[in-house]
């Protein structure tokens, strides 16, 4: 297991104006459990920013502190130049919130639910428009209880949007959705990005962060362990490809691989073993792969599995923590 380390990558030059969100020294503990452990973060206006991390990393606590639902033990929160102590009622009007696992009343219709939430805001989009945006036109008069998971999530999104918010918080918007519903929701987020809204979302799906976010912070144990654009973070792995293989020895047991010899091959940056699966990060795939084959043959080992993929945020997380994102 590698020691957790922070990859410091300077924020790229944005043509964004002032920051929409600024967190400094944020800390929150629930009893003995430290959920957020000294967190600093700045999100520029117009950015789509992702908080990525495994379950229990502190993403939801962080976002709920930002939303003014949880009080931090220490630290400063600034949103749109305001804070929750003095500007709460103004902030509530200007942000949109979608929480994890809100269940709207089953017996209300889509339209009634949106009309209710619209009534809380001084200004915003019309109910019709938000129904259109969420593509729920056909379900307008349907009761919430009859909606599919994806439709319920789009309704939650529409409720977050009726106030025409400058800053939108989405907490695990696609958790539990099937792939098609997930892509549908991603398209919706794309449209919101195009409209220039600042979006802060949490997810434990790396492909979601890669697909949607301008910048990503990887969280683990209440801290940000890496921060940057997806490309920057992937580049920080040091190699753009990942080779995974498993071997059997000559007597059919697990073969013992001499890692030092593999690391000596030019282009191989790192090696780790997880449950019998060897992972190499490799920069020159076409040069390195024949050498790996040759080396394993020399060691008298047979490949039982072999595959390569381009490095992803998952590999960044594994590289930083030695664990997989979805390990709980």
């Amino acid at each position: 297991m590698t020691e957790p380390q922070t990859v410091a990558i300077p924020a790229p030059e944005h043509d964004f104006c002032a920051s929409s969100l600024k967190l400094s020294g944020l800390r929150k503990a629930f009893g003995d459990v430290v959920a957020v452990d000294g967190l600093d973060l700045e999100v520029a206006s117009g950015e789509c920013f992702g908080l990525l991390g495994p379950n229990g990393a502190g993403k939801t606590t962080t976002i709920e502190i930002c939303e003014g639902l949880t009080e931090p033990d220490a630290g400063q929160v600034q949103l749109l130049g305001l804070n929750w102590e003095t500007g709460a009622s103004a902030l509530r009007q200007r942000i949109g919130v979608q929480l994890q696992e809100t269940q709207f009343p089953d017996k209300l219709t889509v339209e009634e639910t949106l009309r209710l939430f619209r009534s809380f805001y001084r200004q915003g989009t019309s109910v019709d428009e938000s129904i259109r945006t969420a593509q729920l036109e056909e379900k307008r008069g349907a009761r919430v209880g009859t909606l599919s998971g994806g439709q319920k999530q789009r309704l939650a999104m529409a409720c977050a949007l009726v106030g025409d918010p400058e800053l939108l918080f989405l907490d695990e918007p696609t958790t539990g959705l099937d792939p098609q519903a997930r892509r549908h929701l991603w398209d919706l987020v794309d449209e919101l990005k195009l409209a220039g809204r600042t979006i802060i979302l949490t997810t434990h799906y790396m492909e979601e962060a890669e697909r949607l976010c301008d910048r990503v912070a990887i969280m683990d144990h209440g801290r940000i362990i890496a921060l940057g654009t997806v490309q920057q973070l992937v580049a920080s792995v040091g190699a753009e490809h990942i080779v995974e293989f498993a071997v059997t020895g000559q007597d059919a047991g697990h073969g013992v691989v001499d890692a030092a010899v593999l690391l000596a091959i030019p282009g191989i940056q790192s090696h780790r073993v997880d449950a019998g699966l060897h992972q190499l990060s490799v920069s020159e795939l076409h040069m390195a792969v024949p050498r790996i084959f040759a080396e394993l043959r020399t060691q008298g080992l047979h490949l039982s599995e072999f595959r390569t993929h381009s490095a992803t945020l998952e590999d960044v997380f594994v590289g930083l923590t030695g664990r997989n994102l979805r390990d709980e």
Binding site: E67, L69, R92, Q93, L99, T102, L108, L116, S119
Partner: protein, 343 residues
């Protein structure tokens, strides 16, 4: 959308209405159940003509002397069979002819048997030639207002107001909390007082329907009297409903799931179902616990409603129960606002 429809208080209240009216069970408990209960009790305790008492006599002369009395039905039985009939409750009294006169065999702890003793004795004495010392006449009255149904209707009304206010508020709030809806609401700019106010407003509107349907029914079917001013009865209903709404809010203010709130609800309501005099007078409980019984909001509510409906008392004469209800309203509401958990 007009201005009213844009108001969040209006929208919140309409949502409450939609949710109540789309819940068929709620409609049953609020409207149908109290009427069914009133009908059941009305049938069980309806006023029947005075009972005819079954008695036995060992000789036909004795039985003949009793035959003219409409309140008695006398059968000729020998002593052995008569004693057996007495033991099995078929007759209340056995009149035994003896050389010295008549012996009455009966259970003196049974009021009906004592009545039978008096009737039989009067008839036999008259047959033997006794004359009335004072001439007496009967004037019969069957006054509405003194029947059991008249007594129990204010009790049922109070019980129903308690149940619908407490369940209505408690369950809906805890359900919203459990489903994270409460948290979602406070993440929006919704004024929190409006959320609670929407429950009160919808409760008051439902109350009008509930009370009018129930009291209208018992008035038409049983002729239950309304002797006090109707507006004061209305005021008492509103006050009762508000006090129990506050209590429902208090019970729901921290409970995280339905199991917890159901348990608390029953814990709060059970003592009142038993002690507050819904079906019989609360004054039957021992003197030592009377202060407790009197302090319960349901006792105060039912006392005040009986005072209004049956005795025609004005609010001024019922300052104590009204003050007790007000105190519960203010205290429960104040505490629940302080400890209410919005997430």
């Amino acid at each position: 959308m007009n201005r009213l429809e844009q108001s969040s208080l209006y929208q919140l209240t309409m949502v409450r209405f939609h949710l109540i009216l789309r819940e068929p069970e709620a409609i049953f408990w609020i409207f149908i159940f109290p009427i069914l209960l009133a009908v059941g009790l009305g049938i069980a305790f309806r006023n029947r003509p005075a009972d005819v008492l079954q008695v036995g006599a060992t000789t036909s002369q004795l039985a003949q002397a009793l035959a003219t009395d409409k309140g008695l039905s006398a059968a000729v039985l020998d002593e052995a069979r008569g004693t057996k009939a007495l033991a099995t409750g078929k007759i209340l009294l056995l009149a035994i002819q003896s050389p010295a006169g008549v012996t009455y065999k009966f259970d003196d702890t049974n009021p009906d048997a004592r009545t039978a003793r008096m009737l039989v004795d009067r008839d036999l004495q008259a047959a033997a030639g006794q004359r009335e010392a004072v001439h007496a006449q009967n004037q019969l009255v069957h006054e509405t207002g003194s029947r059991y149904i008249d007594f129990v209707i204010p009790g049922l009304l109070g019980m129903n107001l308690m149940g619908s206010a407490m369940w209505g508020l408690g369950f809906s709030i805890v359900e919203a909390r459990q489903k994270k809806l409460l948290k979602r609401m406070v993440a929006s700019p919704m004024p929190r007082w409006q959320y609670l106010m929407s429950f009160i407003l919808s409760r008051l509107a439902m109350l009008v329907l509930e009370v009018v349907v129930f009291l209208g029914f018992v008035r038409l079917v049983f002729g239950v009297p309304f002797r006090g001013p109707l507006w004061q009865l209305g005021f008492l209903c509103v006050l009762t409903s508000l006090a129990f709404s506050a209590l429902g809010l208090l019970v729901a203010s921290r409970a995280k799931n339905m199991e917890a709130v159901s348990g608390l609800m029953n814990l709060v309501m059970l003592p009142m179902w038993i002690l507050s005099g819904i079906f019989f007078s609360a004054s039957r409980f021992p003197v030592v616990i009377q202060p407790l019984v009197r302090a319960l909001p349901l006792t105060a509510a039912i006392d005040a409603m009986r005072g209004n409906m049956l005795q025609g008392m004005s609010l001024g004469q019922m300052a104590v129960p009204v003050a007790i209800l007000l105190a519960w309203l203010v205290a429960a509401f104040g505490i629940s606002l302080r400890i209410f958990r919005w997430r």
